[in-house]
Symmetry: C3
Subunit: 155 residues, 3 copies
């Protein structure tokens, strides 16, 4: 029963830096362990595979007390950019790839990348708007079929 | 082993528009596939089944870089309402029901709706405050009993 | 198949009051039911087991429409502290322990506490920075090994 996890289906639903990385790290770790891994991008998480947007994902500096910024400071013009820049620099030092590079790397390991149909319709996004690594835009039902026999992780 | 998912237990813990919809869409999709689906409303997610609040759920316009609003703009009076109105309009065009309608629809498909006891106590909420479709206010232990044999999805 | 859940592996990834409590409540409930329970602290969730920070976790008052504060009001200096204080008081009346007490209580029930290596590296955190109840700083691969045979809950 507790032999090994065979498959993970990771949903990325948020469009902030700290919303996207955990799912990518978990997908990458799963592939490194030889597990099947699929990533499903939904709602604002779609930005991570959107050609025009995936290089511009920022840290949420307000509504994020974990940053230990004064709440009003987080809302000042430029603060989100500065903090994002700071964190990106630190990640570079640690050899953590940027989101576009990381997504490409994960696709190269054989993980499947999918976009959510309901969200794509809502935002008027078509397959042409998404990076080539995205295999398909799929429905919730198709997601469940793919996820069967593994763990679903909603991030 | 990977035959089919039999059951999903979806926890809705956030009280924003983009926090509530994913769980509803996943519950609805599960029922459409003939899977057992139960929804558990906890913390601010309780708003989605609260009689006085379920019609007033808004998009989080700050702390949500996915919206690509300047951070300071998201905090301006009225911006959250305007963006919520805009998204609601788009959803209407796509035949995505409003949250109160969607919750009712999902209950009609036979999904179970439950509220979390710890959260209800915290906010001083009783069963009378919640929409009639909520079957019960339950403990975490009762949740786990119901979720056994399926996938738990925390949103 | 739907006998009982044997194990839960709960990931805490957020550093706000409303981001940390749900995972703690679910871990505590799992132990009360005699299930194996492990907690994994990652990203801003690390604050909940950080010696210098775990007593200072605040409610997110912006980006949290569930609070029904005007968006601009949530960003005013002091509002996050006031709301956090108010909620903490209410929790005290309901015998809900503070985060540091709750984490200690859960560790005492035999749940395992772990920190995520990638996040610890990113924030320059070592084991000495974390409370003694944290057993180890582990990789994603080690997490999956521990989680096998149970439910993964990402909060």
């Amino acid at each position: 029963m507790s032999a090994k996890i065979e498959k993970v289906s990771i949903i990325i639903s948020k469009g902030s830096l700290e919303g996207v990385y955990p799912g990518l790290i978990m997908a990458n770790g799963a592939r490194a362990e030889g597990m099947e891994a699929n990533l499903f991008f939904t709602f604002f998480g779609l930005d991570a595979v959107h050609k025009a947007r995936h290089e511009h994902i920022k840290l949420a500096t307000v509504g994020n007390p974990g940053l230990h910024l004064a709440t009003w400071a987080g809302g000042l013009p430029g603060v989100s950019s500065v903090m994002t820049h700071y964190l990106n620099n630190k990640m570079e030092q640690l050899d953590i790839p940027s989101i576009p590079e990381f997504v490409e790397m994960i696709a190269d390991t054989g993980a499947g990348l999918y976009a959510c149909k309901a969200s794509a319709d809502l935002f008027g996004i078509t397959k042409a708007d998404l990076i080539d690594q995205v295999k398909d835009i799929i429905t919730v039902g198709e997601f469940y079929d793919m996820a069967a026999g593994g763990e679903i992780i909603f991030t």
